[in-house]
């Protein structure tokens, strides 16, 4: 599985929604993600993709849509 698919499957597990149809929607504004969800996302990225993101790297405005998250992960992988 590539990065995009993995991120999308993590997101759909976490939010209970399929987000692949709304790649530029703000996940925090819609209430799908919150601080708790963010931490779970970071932990999943670590265990599934081996991408290590410290909490202080998590600037919300850079991680608030599926597209941004994928771009961020690809830049770090």
């Amino acid at each position: 599985m590539d990065v995009k698919e993995t991120v999308l499957s993590i997101l759909s597990d976490l939010t209970g929604n399929d987000v692949s149809g709304a790649m530029d929607d703000n996940l925090f504004d819609s209430g799908l993600l919150d601080s708790m969800g963010s931490v779970q996302l970071l932990l999943q990225l670590q265990s599934q993709l081996g991408v290590n993101v410290p909490v202080s790297e998590f600037e919300r405005s850079e991680w608030d849509t599926p597209n941004k998250i994928i771009a961020k992960v690809e830049s770090l992988a």
Binding site: V39, V55, S56
Partner: protein, 403 residues
């Protein structure tokens, strides 16, 4: 000798205006004079911490040297090694002075600690944040001079907003383009004038005129169920309005002045009374503090709990951490029953709020959502918040426990 509360009176603003002119001309011509900025910083710090308050000034100097030693020492150490215990020890040492200042009145019959000064908590938040980001490796080029400017940036020293080292450093090292800076001047001046309206008109009316009257009336109406009466309710709203306009007004002064200096200090309030729920309220009220707690306590604790699988379900992890997070915030305000109850109240409110949001998501079809429910949600949230501020005000302590 002159001595002022920051943004406390017209003379302070007059001096501020004069001091800003050379700096603003410099920025308009693309120049930032470190020397001049340092001089006016020292001037305003002396105005705040000098004269009759010189003991606070001494406490501030010693405190700053202490925090520089810790953060600098840790930055040097972190380049070589990364041990957990060393990090925790240094964070505890960094928080120690604040802890002493907060605990002293509770154990010494209300007496203030000698090492305290106006703004010690806000400086501690900045120092601890610097250390945590050094540990994470996201802050790599710690510099003593930048750290000093960050800590002692006079517009925000006494009560925030709480900026972040890397964000501040970025602004401080650059000069905004003339076009951008003109926009910042416009915004900055508007903020300062809205601040006048908030602090000197509205907060004055609610806090200085209305609140004392309601307080007297409430004390006279004691005797009913839990000494409650209509004036207590009036006091709750007047206090909440005063708290908001006073602090939002101050924050607008601090942000406005920062903008004039070419630094985009983050905003502290974003229409908090429009929040449809408590969780959203904390994204809009005293934002730099609640985000500090979110990023450096809540998220880190959750991360640690999840990684070490302390609790079975993520839901329990989130709930326990909400309570811890808000309790810490309660204790930070001071060691009194009403601050701690206030923290607990908001912790529980967040837990209930999350449960409701989950329920609503699951039963989307059966939970109505329309203009009326939206207004009801805003009304309910605002009233819950005002009630929590009544606890926070300490007035219940006066109402119940004074003769």
């Amino acid at each position: 000798m002159l001595s002022f509360e920051p943004y406390g009176n017209p003379t302070y603003f007059a001096l501020l205006g004069v001091a800003m002119i050379p700096l603003m001309i410099g920025l308009l011509y693309g120049k930032r004079s470190r020397l001049y900025e340092t001089l006016i910083s020292i001037f305003f710090l002396v105005l705040t911490f000098g004269g009759p308050k010189w003991t606070q000034g001494i406490a501030l100097i010693i405190y700053i040297l202490y925090e520089v030693a810790l953060t600098w020492g840790y930055a040097v150490y972190r380049k070589q090694k990364n041990s957990g215990p060393v990090f925790y020890l240094l964070v505890i040492l960094a928080i120690l002075p604040l802890t002493i200042v907060k605990v002293t009145p509770a154990v010494e019959n209300g007496q203030a600690s000698l090492i305290g000064f106006l703004g010690i908590s806000y400086l501690t938040f900045r120092a601890v944040q610097t250390m945590m980001e050094t540990r994470d490796g996201t802050l790599k080029n710690y510099q003593v001079m930048t750290f000093l400017q960050f800590m002692l940036f006079f517009p925000t020293i006494s009560s925030g907003p709480i900026d972040r080292y890397r964000r501040f450093e970025h602004d401080y090292r650059t000069v905004p383009s003339r076009e951008k800076y003109l926009g910042m001047i416009q915004k900055g001046i508007r903020y300062i004038f809205v601040g006048f309206l908030y602090k000197f008109l509205l907060a004055y009316y609610f806090g200085t005129i209305l609140m004392p009257k309601l307080q007297v009336m409430a004390m006279h109406s004691r005797g009913g169920f839990m000494d409650l009466s209509w004036p207590v309710l009036g006091y709750m709203y007047a206090y909440s309005a005063d708290l908001f306009f006073d602090f939002a007004g101050y924050s607008l002064f601090a942000v406005g002045t920062s903008y004039l200096m070419g630094i985009e200090t983050p905003m502290n309030f974003k229409q908090p009374w429009r929040s449809p729920n408590i969780k959203d309220f904390w994204n809009r009220w005293h934002i730099t503090l609640s985000f500090w707690f979110r990023d450096f306590i809540y998220m880190r604790l959750v991360f640690w709990f999840m990684k070490h699988r302390i609790f079975k379900s993520p839901r329990t992890t989130a709930n326990v951490t909400y309570i811890i997070n808000m309790l810490v915030m309660g204790f930070w305000h001071g060691v009194t029953w009403y601050y701690i109850t206030y923290g607990l109240f908001h912790g529980v409110a967040l837990v209930v709020n999350d449960a409701w949001l989950r329920y609503k998501k699951k039963h989307r079809a059966s939970v109505p959502h329309n203009g009326f429910t939206q207004i009801f949600a805003i009304f309910l949230t605002a009233n819950l918040v005002c009630f929590s501020f009544l606890i926070f005000s300490g007035f219940l302590n006066t109402l119940w426990f004074t003769k």
